[in-house]
């Protein structure tokens, strides 16, 4: 009995009641779930156009928030295309042209492979805590599960979405549904996370669904994670421009 009491005391100390969490703690917990020292991801992106759908497979290596390398595996037209993110810079290589092109300026607003995601969306994966100030707007039940509704206001300039509204699952501590707004308050995109699984001790979604709300008749883009490994050692050579051409 004594042991049980000690265990109960320890557990309440180590794992505070989620209901008592403040907004800052919630976004810290989200960051902890979504970010890692390194990630190796095999995924596919299902782009649903007005006339047809395309599935694009890729493999990515990510270290922190500054280094990322993606190689597209299929369909044949995209196979061999590579992307390298080095801090604020994004490079792409296409085997058809044998050119390394830096994507900058307005090109960052272009869609990635015709999806509802832009290159800016890809680039902006710094921890939410660094970019936004969070306030809890309320609670709501979504699909029978308890969620906090959190409003995120940008605390740094130049973000693609100066305001976000997130429905954060109280158990998973993940933003299951998000609305991304422009400075004017116009809804630009919506995102949702599905198929939450426990991977290497953290809750992580197996499917992200993005929808560009400015595209009329957009059916959204699904990003399905086939395999993900956290904190696996990735050599520095993976993130060299020379590797783009190999």
């Amino acid at each position: 009995m004594k042991n049980i009491l000690i265990l109960f005391f320890l557990s309440s100390f180590l794992f505070p009641q989620t209901n008592q969490m403040n907004a800052d703690n919630i976004i810290k917990a989200i960051d902890k779930n979504l970010n890692a020292e390194s990630r190796t991801i095999t995924s596919k992106m299902v782009v649903r156009g007005r006339r047809s759908s395309r599935t694009i497979k890729s493999k990515s290596w990510v270290v922190g928030t500054d280094l990322a390398f993606t190689e597209y595996l299929s369909p044949p037209r995209e196979a061999g295309t590579k992307m390298l993110k080095l801090g604020e810079k994004l490079y792409t290589y296409s085997p058809q042209t044998d050119r390394v092109i830096q994507i900058s300026g307005h090109m960052l607003r272009q869609s990635v492979m015709g999806s509802d995601m832009s290159y800016n969306d890809m680039m902006e994966d710094r921890p939410i805590e660094e970019l936004y100030k969070a306030t809890i707007e309320g609670s709501a039940k979504v699909d029978g599960r308890d969620h906090w509704i959190i409003v995120l206001d940008a605390k740094v300039k130049g973000l693609s979405y100066p305001k976000r509204r997130s429905w954060v699952d109280k158990e998973y501590l993940l933003p299951i549904k998000e609305e991304l707004y422009a400075k004017s308050g116009k809804l630009l995109k919506t995102a949702s996370l599905e198929g939450i699984k426990k991977i290497q001790g953290r809750w992580f979604p197996s499917k992200f669904v993005y929808k560009d709300e400015l595209k009329r008749n957009s059916k959204g883009t699904e990003w399905i994670i086939d395999n993900i490994e956290f904190n696996k050692k990735i050599p520095d050579s993976r993130f060299s421009k020379a590797l783009l051409r190999k």
Binding site: R77, Q96, D98, R99, I101, M107, Q110, S111, G114, Y119
Partner: protein
């Protein structure tokens, strides 16, 4: 009699030379004026038709709505079949597919890194097909400044302005950075084989021309095209005919396909209705039609503004629809205005010339008052004198008009071939919607061969007829009195 009159005209220069000169000059002016106006308007419409509108063009309904954004995701598929159908339906026109796209052109340095970048506005044209008339309608033989025409899929022509901006020459390679028809990021290498200057103000400032096969490869648009352009075989824009075939195509081909697609969609949706299988075949065919007609009548297809969530996605948005040149922005009023203005200007011009020649006929008739009196006195009847004067006027009018027509048509032909350069003024007003050529060319049209006869012969004869009426008012007593003095 004609020979007699002709001799008289040649011997008495005051009766022939000056009226003849006046007629020649005025007829030349009339012909050149009308030829130049026709030619200038046709140049303007031709330039716009070549670059942005065609005489008519076929696009999907969805593309038409958003055409200013170059939405290649809404492009036409199965273009070969559509072109075949259009050719069968309207043999007076020739049909050619085109891909219009934008992006960035990137030039590499020796290390393959970006050296220069500039926005590009490009056209994928059908250069290679057997019956292609692209080189002719773009007048590339004339406007090619350096290099050669495209021969291979990845060959590109760059405007001299763009080539200068990118610091590239014939033989350089450039990389297009753009979007595929699925809106995916794409890069594609083109080889510059020539440069051109269209002489159309700023319209070609960012222009690149490639073969449609290269554009299809770059943008992943297999057998697709942004637009199918139709040009009259004569390359002359016939507004009435263009409007007629646009109406015909949209009423027969386009609307019937749209109706079929909507009915199919309705049938599919209604088939989920409880008890659908219990309905008889006649009803099963009738109900979908009633549904789609009701949706259409209530404007519920793709009308989120009015119907919000009740708005129904239109299955026919990718049906081909035809647009005439006049349907492009501002061009309808411009075509109408130009037709009216041309008519009014030509009319005023003709009236002025007729008044001048009429007056000349009058003066000529009145000047010969004494001669008429003498001829009456020696026994010629009034009718004979009157008829001989009219015959003389007709002869002078005819000869003068003939010479004037030769001069006028020759002058018009010269300006048709060499044009008049307005480069500086045009650079200010040319845009992608309305392409104004730098050099205006006149146009020799069939009407120029006869239009001069209206003022040249008719006005001279009418003037003489009016003046000659005085013959009938002469009194014999008055006549002898004049002879005495």
């Amino acid at each position: 009699m004609i020979q007699f009159l002709a001799k008289g005209l040649i011997r008495d220069r005051s009766r022939s030379l000056f009226p003849l000169l006046a007629i020649i000059i005025t007829v030349t002016l009339v012909i050149f004026g009308i030829g130049f106006m026709e030619g200038a308007m046709n140049n303007f419409l031709h330039s716009t038709a070549v670059i942005s509108t065609g005489h008519v063009k076929v696009v999907t309904k969805a593309y038409k709505k958003e055409s200013n954004q170059l939405p290649n995701d809404l492009a036409l598929f199965d273009t070969k079949n559509i072109i075949q159908t259009l050719g069968d339906m309207y043999p007076n026109y020739f049909w050619t597919p085109r891909i219009t796209f934008g992006g960035l052109l990137d030039t590499p340095d020796q290390m393959g890194e970006t050296k220069e970048q500039a926005p590009v506005f490009a056209f994928g044209l059908d250069f290679f097909s057997e019956k292609s008339r692209q080189v002719e309608i773009w007048e590339l033989d004339k406007y090619l400044i350096s290099g050669r025409l495209p021969k291979n899929r990845d060959d590109a022509l760059l405007s001299t302005k763009l080539a200068k901006q990118l610091s590239v020459n014939v033989g350089s390679s450039v990389t297009l950075i753009g979007s595929t028809m699925d809106n995916a990021f794409t890069t594609y290498n083109f080889n510059i084989v020539g440069t051109f200057d269209l002489n159309k103000g700023q319209a070609d400032r960012q222009m690149m021309l490639v073969d449609i096969s290269g554009a299809r490869q770059a943008l992943d648009m297999v057998d697709a095209a942004s637009e199918i352009f139709g040009y009259h075989n004569s390359l002359y824009y016939h507004d009435d005919e263009a409007v007629k075939i646009r109406k015909h195509f949209n009423l027969t081909y386009s609307d019937s396909i749209a109706q079929i697609l909507r009915n199919e969609e309705s049938k599919n949706i209604l088939s989920y209705m409880t008890g659908w299988n219990k309905i008889n075949t006649i009803e099963k065919n009738k109900l979908p039609q009633q549904r789609s007609i009701a949706l259409s009548d209530n404007q519920m297809y793709d009308n989120t503004e009015e119907w919000e969530e009740l708005s129904v996605e239109d299955p026919s948005v990718f049906t081909p629809t035809m647009i005439a040149l006049r349907d492009a922005s501002q061009l309808a009023s411009m075509v109408d205005f130009s037709n009216v203005a041309m008519g009014v200007m030509a009319g005023i011009f003709l009236v002025i010339v007729m008044v001048v020649l009429w007056n000349m006929g009058l003066m000529n008739g009145l000047r010969r008052y004494g001669e008429i009196g003498l001829r009456l006195a020696i026994g010629e009847s009034k009718g004979q004198v009157y008829r001989s004067m009219i015959s003389e006027a007709a002869l002078i009018g005819f000869v003068g008009t003939l010479i004037g027509t030769i001069f006028g048509v020759s002058l018009t032909y010269y300006v048709q071939e060499f044009g008049i350069d307005y480069s500086e003024a045009v650079n200010q007003i040319s845009s992608s919607n309305m392409v104004v050529p730098n050099v205006f060319y006149a146009k020799v049209t069939p009407e120029l061969y006869y239009i001069g006869f209206i003022p040249g012969v008719l006005a001279t004869v009418l003037g003489t007829m009016l003046a000659g009426l005085a013959i009938y008012k002469r009194e014999m007593s008055q006549l002898f009195k004049e002879l005495e003095t």
